[in-house]
Amino acid sequence: MASPPIGSGEPWRRSGPVPRVLTATQRRLLLLVVAAAALALAATVGVGWRLERNEHSPLVRVGEPAPDFTLTASDGGSVTLRDQRGHPLLLAFLPSVQCGVCQQRLRALREALPRLTEQGVTLYVISTDEPEVQRTVARSLHLGFPLLAENVIVDRHPAGRAYGVFHEPGAQQGPVDAAALVLIDAGGSVRALDNRPAGELSAADLVRFVADGLANSGAAR
């Protein structure tokens, strides 16, 4: 059976040798376009790759003044750390409020909240999410504490960088903060730090971490 002529409107049905339909100049031009596109994508990936691997700051240490920050809260306001002096604070850094392990930790924090409040501790969760996403999760998990959103676009991870939990060496988790707990005393100094990789953490573990941190001078774990 004879093949339909070229230009029948269904070129993928043709059989036989492949026709060279582009002139040499057109082919060169299209190759140039492909090369330019590939180069643009490669350059973009290269910038991200470099940031991912080279951008990190030292982990905050127990006894040091807690670095200040201002972050957007899930309730629409903003929270500045230096305005919180006078009572202990627990900062719980999470990569996101959406991942499975993160939500387990959020539930543990929710469970521990009454005990933390009894100890006069204010809890803030800091994650790399949009406030809108945080609000949705806060509603679905019935969280009774504010979630603070890291600004990842304009001022990349201001809190995570200040505390050294963004791109923490050995805990690379992509462009998000590592899971960490930072206990800050009423005077604004770091009293305890837990930056173990995120895993199962119960409400009892959290309460114990805070109680030990407030009771002792604190030691990094």
Binding site: L51, E52, V101
Partner: protein, 138 residues
């Protein structure tokens, strides 16, 4: 400039209608910028592959539209894994540089969004000429 024939566009874009499913998934989690980031990366790389193949003289195939679709799903894979629990890791850059691109999301989306129509146009030009009657060719 002439647009590629309608059937050609359907062959290229039709399979990508399946991306409506991950679109809904990302929307549910408030991650539409991530959807754009990884879908565009999959599409851009897919178009580059198809263009190279076309410029090497291979004819158009019915399944060509599956290439950008498959690569878009491949690029998104770490986000599906993430919702199950495991965090993003450096090695997940094997999924079309997922982690590195997340790092500079707004800039990467902008670059990919500029590159995409250029590649679609180039693909259209390359394949359109294949579909044109001989008399219309230069």
């Amino acid at each position: 400039m002439t647009l590629p024939d309608r059937r050609g566009l359907l062959v290229l874009c039709g399979p990508s209608l399946l991306l409506l499913a991950p679109f809904a998934f990302y929307q549910r989690f408030g991650g539409l910028p991530h959807f754009a980031l990884h879908t565009l990366m999959g599409w851009d790389v897919g178009l580059i592959v198809l263009l190279v193949v076309a410029l090497r003289g291979a004819r158009r195939r019915r399944w060509e539209g599956v290439v950008p679709l498959a690569l878009a799903f491949w690029a998104m894979a770490p986000d599906f894994i993430y919702v199950l629990g495991p965090y993003h890791r450096d090695w997940m850059d094997v999924f079309l540089f997922h982690v590195s691109l997340d790092e500079i999301l707004p800039y990467a989306v902008a670059v990919e969004a500029i590159v995409w129509p250029v590649l679609v146009g180039a693909y259209g030009c390359a394949r359109l000429r294949e579909a044109e009657p001989p008399a219309n060719r230069a």
